[in-house]
């Protein structure tokens, strides 16, 4: 099997340059919106809910929002973003005529998706900290966690992109997978409220271990059990990374 090389960084650099040229509209979706959600849901809904365990509701959802919006960033980038570059702009076609191979392009896209997750996760964490919603120095590990989950979600998204005939097919991916996942992964309410079957299902959703870990890092409640979450993220990430490499290569080599 042909693997990628360091040259994938060239694709990452290209995407970075474009992003920093047009970052203003992007920032609204990925930073302003989550802040509004934390504040309105946290304060508004929180007034009814009171507290969850020892935390106020707003403290509870802040890490969930960090995790899920980092996930959204990588996912959007490696679905709509990658699809437009691949199909409409023919950007990949141009790149693979240079010393970069198809694999470098694929990996460059995934790493860029992960970088978007890193930026979103970090930005929301900083703002949450300003609002006093972060209570532990362990939160310094959120950026690397966001990047790691970005690799996983970027790979999953790119795998789906490799199967996507037309851009509107992403509606299925979002309404059947991404959005439900964000509701059943402990982002907005704790999973132990659910019947056992739902709890079991939620543990195969890749956002669940991410939410779990992020929440632990924000609150400082660190224990060895978290290693399982980490392992799950790495495992799912590696599998989809390899799968995306294969299916995307198949799509791009005609």
């Amino acid at each position: 099997m042909r693997l990628f090389s360091w040259r994938f960084i060239r694709v990452w650099q290209r995407n970075r340059d474009v992003f920093f040229k047009l970052w203003r509209p992007e920032i609204t979706g990925f930073v302003v919106e989550p802040i509004i959600i934390i504040l309105t849901m946290g304060l508004g809904l929180g007034a009814f809910i009171g507290s969850i365990g020892q935390e106020s509701y707003i403290q509870f959802i802040a890490p969930g929002i960090i995790a899920s919006y980092a996930m959204f960033s990588a996912t959007f980038e490696c679905t709509y973003g990658s699809f437009v570059r691949m199909e409409y702009q023919k950007t990949y076609d141009a790149i693979i005529a240079t010393p970069l191979n198809v694999e470098d392009v694929i990996v460059g896209e995934i790493f860029w998706g992960a970088t978007r997750a890193l930026m979103t996760g970090t930005a929301i964490t900083i703002i949450a900290a300003i609002f006093g919603l972060v209570s532990s120095p362990w939160a310094l590990l959120i950026p690397p966690l966001s990047f790691l989950q970005g690799l996983m979600f970027g790979s999953i998204a790119l795998f789906f992109t490799s199967m996507t005939p037309a851009i509107y097919s992403f509606n299925y991916f979002f309404t059947l997978f991404v959005t439900p996942m964000s509701f059943f992964s402990g982002v907005y309410f704790p999973l132990d409220q659910f019947p056992q079957i739902v709890q079991t299902i939620s543990w195969v959703l890749p956002l669940t271990p991410v939410t779990y870990l992020t929440r632990a890092l924000v609150s400082g409640n660190i224990h060895p059990g978290l290693l399982w979450s980490l392992l799950l993220i790495v495992g799912i990430g590696v599998v989809f990374f390899m799968v995306a490499l294969v299916t995307m290569r198949r799509r791009l080599t005609v």
Binding site: R14, V18, K21, Q89, A94, A97, T98
Partner: protein
């Protein structure tokens, strides 16, 4: 020295054979033209040689290296100008060149120098900060060619380089291609423009249905397939039968194009004349005649 070589190269799209068991040798320093009607397989062939599309069967060697193994090294010395515009619409004109240079790991300062150089070569300096959508079709084409030169390629591969260019721009491009060839760059180009092939190419291959039907210098191709002159005879339904009979009886080499007959190798026929002299025209033979002859006039007209 042979710089590009294909052996029994085949490309299939499902059951469709786009390139059919094609063996080809291109000499270093020559300008090689691929001519052929739409769908002949020119782009498919070029995409395999530039390592962006895998072959179904067969072998490709560029600079003596097996393309399957050394794709990266080969691509580093190729300049590729694709048939379809794939400029990066997210970047400016200059941004396109700089980003492309980075794919070749050309250091930033050198990349800027080369970018400005190729922009001036193709008279695009004034557009350096424009967005791609602000360019006209011909400007995009020129930028695409300029981009293909950013890595100072040893081999330049162009898929219909002058499509959509106005006459001035076309001559500008031809001039640059001649200069590059004089500097030792090997050129492989597809074209539909016979004038272009005759003006630039040392050797030309005429392709149809994935196969090469004729390959030689433009001059030799013309001499071999059509001779020095062509006699065009206008026909109408009333005298067609009679003419046809006469052509066959006299064993003339001709092509039936419906409302016209083309008589080839006319000098060998002792400059045959037929029918009413008002309906006949003698003219020098061109590469276009070869093209039409080999690929079938009926397909084109």
């Amino acid at each position: 020295m042979i710089i590009i070589e294909t052996k029994n190269l085949t490309k299939k799209f499902k059951s469709l054979v786009a390139v059919d068991d094609l063996s080809l040798q291109i000499e270093a320093g020559e300008c090689f033209g691929l001519l052929g009607p739409n769908g002949a397989g020119k782009t498919s062939l070029i995409r395999m040689i530039t390592a962006v599309s895998p072959s179904t069967r067969g072998e490709i060697r560029v600079l003596g290296k097996d393309l399957k193994v050394y794709a990266r090294q080969v691509k580093a010395v190729l300049g590729v100008v694709p048939q379809l515009d794939n400029l990066d619409p997210d970047l400016t004109v200059l941004g396109n060149l700089l980003t492309f240079a980075r794919y070749f790991s050309i250091p930033r300062k050198e990349a800027l120098r080369r970018s400005l150089e190729v922009l001036s070569l193709f008279e695009l300096e004034a557009k350096r900060n424009s967005q791609i959508f602000e360019l006209s079709g011909g400007m995009k084409r020129r930028l695409l060619i300029a981009r293909g030169l950013i890595n100072q390629p040893r081999i330049l591969i162009l898929d219909e380089p002058s499509i959509g260019l106005d006459p001035q721009a076309r001559y500008l491009v031809w001039q640059k291609l001649r200069e590059l060839k004089a500097k030792g760059v090997t050129e492989l180009m597809c074209t539909q423009n016979m004038e272009e092939a005759a003006a630039l190419c040392d050797r030309v291959a005429i392709m149809n249905l994935g196969k090469i039907l004729g390959l030689d210098t433009p001059r030799n191709l013309v001499a071999k397939y059509v001779g020095k002159e062509v006699l065009e005879v206008e026909v109408d339904s009333t005298d067609k039968e009679k003419l046809l009979k006469e052509l066959k009886e006299r064993r003339l080499d001709f092509e039936d194009a419906g409302n016209k007959f083309f008589v080839f190798h006319n000098e060998a026929n002792g400059f045959a004349t037929l029918a009413n002299p008002e309906k006949m025209r003698r003219r020098p033979a061109t590469l276009e005649d070869v093209f039409l002859r080999l690929t079938g006039r009926s397909l084109i007209e």
